[in-house]
Symmetry: D2
Subunit: 426 residues, 4 copies
């Protein structure tokens, strides 16, 4: 019920959906210069041309080859270069060295994409609308995977452009809204007085069973019960204006708000990380010029909007903000209960930022990773990362769901991340 | 009820308990050479003489000084050098540089201890048995803190001695059992057939409220409900013999058993870490000589006992072993329910090894860190670490409890760590 | 006298020489894909598009701007991005981060080059053949600088292509010889019996005075005397076949041939450095396939020619080879005396490889660095590097001279480096 | 002639000299606490107890064992632990890990020393005054080696004590002058007007032949000719007062005075290196308190003496100072010529600081390293280091000579280093 949006996929024409998804990826890189698709300004970024090839490798490696559909690699090093991290699928190139590769070129990779797409669509059409379930399942995974890389592409593109001192603009707002169908980051006007939603304590159901949805990731399964105490959660997201108050109040110089590792990050990591001469005692992508604050976005440098949700803060910053505010981060269960009851994601408009939760990324009770290669998709990353919920302005339409569990390391802030606050209610 | 053992403290004569605890710490360093108390062979180890001074700093800084009891520092740099990590208490020396300090000497530090002890006991006795609650509370925290450092001392001493190629013995088994009252690591003879305990699903209570026990750490609070599905948990710990089977079956060369970060650790970290020329594809402290396995212990190098519980494995190794065995690690809730129902810790004999759980170290629902400096004791470390439960052979008698939450980083294996297995029951 | 070749510049038509030199640089990048011009697979490599812009920055910064010739930067960040290391010229981008920049694009940089070239030529022509000496001097430095970057470009291109597992070919031998006028690496057939040249002891003159040549770098000055003992030096270069004998004889596993830092490099650095899965106990760019040796070159992977001079070894390898052979490296004075007397560089054919000498890169007696920014050109690098002499197959025609002092760090081997041997004669 | 001082050794009673030298080493550690002999606060420091054992290992390994004199190792790991870097002598412990070793203890090492000394003296006495030349040669090397470690001990002790925030004093001036016979650092009153010595150009002899002296290191050989241009060299050393002028004039913030690597060191290395919170834009061991300058010495913290020679600067600082002053560093040949003609070292008082020269540490023309293990003593370090000449206040009496070539890396400043200035004269 709460997942009706993504059920939409269920009734899709899969070859058409494949084509649409694949074309959307190319629409994302279309505004870039060739040079933008090559660089890796930080180890966590992947060059856009790598994304283009890796998502294609996925279909060849996990669908065409296992089903003996003829689709030769353009050269023998493709499986090495474009396997991301699947140990079961042979050697893979080191992630931090993806930017060392000038070849294959963007043009060659686009040719590879188009060739694979032609073969895929031809093959899918041969089933005449009756694609076997095991193929459907991998295909849907492949499309969800491609959607994840669409979001990663926009994260990485933003970081790549930001790494150039000239701060080039990715695209016009017009291109963003019409070609990429990205919603403008809605000005999250705070309800006055700021409102919150309150639960009663009790046992609730969370997660989904694999067969309830046309598609979900294994980390969202199975549906299971959890006891929750009563809590309140804010219906508004924390804004740039709120966050400026935190900064002004010494948020980055008072250790009492921070986890020990967070404080270490403030002291040391901040100096080394990210583009070099910029102030790091702010969210990523903020700049101060002539005493005015600006925020770098896909549409270039813009005056900071005080009412827009704060973005590009890491878990440590979210945690410190919450402590400073006298509240705390919600757990992922609290978030999900709130979302279930407020139909947060049922409308077309997605959430503007992924919201950090207090929950470490772990297996749900009863979780079983797939036995085959897809067991490497989620399960092996269930350590040292934190769950984020919601979605963000660059999440592809229909990709997020209430049960969706995104995850990043506590120090990472190049995803489109923000927060909402919670507190015990009793 | 389940915590009756540690309630014993309640009726204690606190000055006597103080004296006993403080003397026990010195009994631990007594067999050492002066040189052993100085070195820091790895960043995670602290020199024993630092432990001796830091635990003393605790009483001066948090009791004597706030209560205006005259107790001058032997020199002005003591607060800097022996504050471990309390940002609220001023600057502190970097942990990784503790081994760079030759001064104060062991002798000076012992003199400092004895002087502080005399002042403390004199001061406590002045209350004539009626120590005010707020002092009792900090005193009990100081004693629990000292007990934690007693265990850390034995962990660090073991690592320090192991770092010498000559592998010197710390003490005779006689000293270990009589002077230090350490239990021999009982040969955990496996029940045949291997037995397990099974729960039914339901809502259970976990944790404690602060006022239920004479003492507990804030991270154990508050008592709260949790829904648990049915599970089975082994009553026996995994043994060295079991672990050898895992090694023989290629446990360290098959990535499918490992978390992604665990596999990275196997590949790379293992090479650099710990004593240098030794095989790292085993638990820490194992050596093979003439095709026979040995284990280094506080009583020197001993033939590996196949029936003893495996020790000194990190979370990644425990996780991989569990996957290889077809089972999983228990959550800390499962462990606690099991312990509640089997009176695991009510007898005098403590558990021989801390047991890794599947639970990341997080705040309990309703957790509130103390507002003062003691808020830094536990809460700020609630990130990127995993919970261990039980206790170990070098945990001071009476220190552990069923609700006790120990925590270490997933790659650390110099604590006395092992595991038991769990699985879903349905 | 011995430097007659480079005197040729003297009578040059400077605007024409400018145009020729600038066009040659572009001819070097012409065979590349855009992507090849962007990447920086190791910190010591610069992206080819950076070379194109930096060499242009040189003329704008050191000629057009000081002479008030209107030539606006395409954008405000050009001076930051394309100043290499001149502290006197303002901030500069970190060398190791050049590969993080996607902008300006190659196309923009080529436009910048063409615009600057038009302005430069127009300006130079305005002097009507009578360019003032102080402009001539900087212009000649700029052209020599551009020639150095032509060689660097080919070094970097080779490394960039090698970093792609597919080992793409840079250009056909035809392009190399006709468009770039690169000599084939002549098969250095060994004289049989191997011949050598012998000096008598005495005082000789070395280096040049600034006014003796149309152009030289300040590090070649002044002409000065030096006493040399008698020595013999081989007229042939060490070949691949010779070097294979060294490898076969355990050259890389016997510490007695190596300097202490060289042996450390063999043990540790080799593991991390350069392309990842390749054997590093060989010169750079060697590969073994099916028990046959290959060498990667600008014309792709070729069977190793045993009679060709060994290339791409660092100082440590050259030193170890010389010790193994029972001889030693010549000093730069010995090399220069030999070159003076054998007319080594007077013919058109340059030396195929730069030859490591035993001489650390230091100031000549009486050396004075320029007072202005050009004082940063050579003098500030006179520490921890070793002198190489000769020239190599990718050194631009007319660039090298007998007095030319090239210099690299002892561990670097991506220049086209080899060696000849010397020994005392007495 | 110029080396008459060290010829004194020639007529020595070698067993007596052995005993005196060995006892002097122990006199150096006598004022230390046991703890001071264990720590290694920086990788370049060795724990004093390691020095005590290593110098003893030298005699056992290179004299007693080759001559079959019975002298068992106290334990099997001594050869591993106390071989410094001789690859020909088997495995050796990593230098940076010497401080990880608590065992053998100081007491055990002293027992080892005394046992070896008894065996050595007994053995030497058995020759009845007629020790064979090949034994004499190694014995003298062993004693010179021990003297080098006496100086290293005092360098390391100074750094070890400095690493303690309490800045403990090593010994009273009385102990320094009477027990250790260390000269007070003479106040180098500047001649007014400041005087210099001037040479004429010509061919001069440098270095020594092995048979001219009772002892010299192989790096001082052979005697050879060198052409020198005319130069002037200051007879006074640069003082603390001079150096303060350099600091006040922005010496550490103006890149134009520095080599490129030196400037990098000023910017970055300085931050990380050495004791942590102290200002690094001064010589090592300087502190400012209440606007007054102090210098830490073996006799504790003392007000900075403006007329004393500046000490504990590295090559980069010496180079930058010389450039700032408008002069340059002398080459080692210029220094040696000056010393030959001014009888600089013939009197008892040694030079107060080692003086950085402009000469990289390289082999002399005709240099041949020993074929056996002693070939590793000097030759393999002839890369990336700079020569220092003279001696310093903690150099053992009779150890230095005019031909003596000391060497350190350009960034190292824990030796007792200073400078004198030179300039071309013509």
């Amino acid at each position: 019920m709460q997942n009706t949006v993504s059920r939409a996929l269920d009734v899709c024409d899969l070859p058409a959906e494949y084509r649409r998804t694949r074309q959307h990826t190319e629409a994302i890189v279309q505004p870039l210069e060739v040079e933008d698709t090559v660089v890796q300004p930080a180890a966590f970024v992947s060059p856009p041309k790598w994304h283009l090839a890796h998502t294609t490798w996925f279909f060849v490696n996990f669908l065409l080859q296992p089903h003996n559909v003829h689709c030769p690699w353009p050269s023998a090093d493709y499986p090495l270069l474009f396997n991301s991290y699947y140990k079961s699928q042979g050697n893979h190139w080191q992630q931090a060295q993806r930017g060392a590769l000038s070849r294959p070129t963007l043009r060659e990779i686009l040719q590879f994409r188009h060739q694979v797409d032609a073969i895929m669509i031809d093959w899918l059409n041969r089933f005449d609308g009756d694609i076997p379930p095991q193929i459907t399942e991998v295909l849907r995974l492949g499309l969800a995977h491609e959607q994840q890389h669409q979001e990663l592409l926009l994260m990485d593109i933003k970081y790549i452009l930001w790494s150039n001192p000239g701060l080039p603009t990715y695209a016009t707002s017009d291109y963003l809204s019409s070609a990429l169908r990205l919603p403008a980051v809605t000005t999250a006007l705070r309800s006055e007085p700021s409102s919150s939603w309150q639960s009663t304590c009790g046992i609730y159901d969370f997660g989904v069973n694999r067969d309830e949805l046309a598609f979900c990731f294994d980390n969202e399964t199975p549906r299971h019960k959890q006891w929750l105490s009563a809590f309140r959660i804010t219906t508004d997201l924390v804004t740039n204006g709120d966050y400026l108050d935190f900064i002004s109040d010494g948020g980055y110089v008072r250790p009492e708000y921070w986890l020990s590792e967070g404080w270490d990050w403030v002291q040391a990591e901040a100096m080394r990380s990210e583009a070099h001469t910029r102030d790091t005692h702010t969210p990523l992508y903020w700049l101060q010029r002539d005493a005015q604050w600006f925020e770098f976005g896909l549409d270039g440098l813009q005056p900071l909007s005080l009412n827009a949700p704060v973005m590009h803060i890491n878990f440590h910053e979210a945690y410190a903000y919450a402590r400073w505010s006298g509240k705390r981060l919600p757990t992922e269960y609290e978030w999900e209960l709130f979302a279930q009851h407020t139909h947060l994601l049922t409308s077309r408009a997605c959430q503007p930022v992924w919201q950090w939760t207090a929950s470490p990324y772990s297996a749900y009770p009863g979780y079983r990773a797939a036995q085959d290669a897809f067991g490497e998709y989620n399960g092996k990353f269930m350590i040292n990362q934190m769950v984020l919920r919601g979605g963000c302005s660059v999440t592809p339409a229909g990709h997020a769901r209430i049960s969706y569990r995104n995850f990043y390391y506590p120090h990472q802030r190049w995803p489109f991340t923000g927060l909402r606050l919670a507190e015990d209610a009793d």
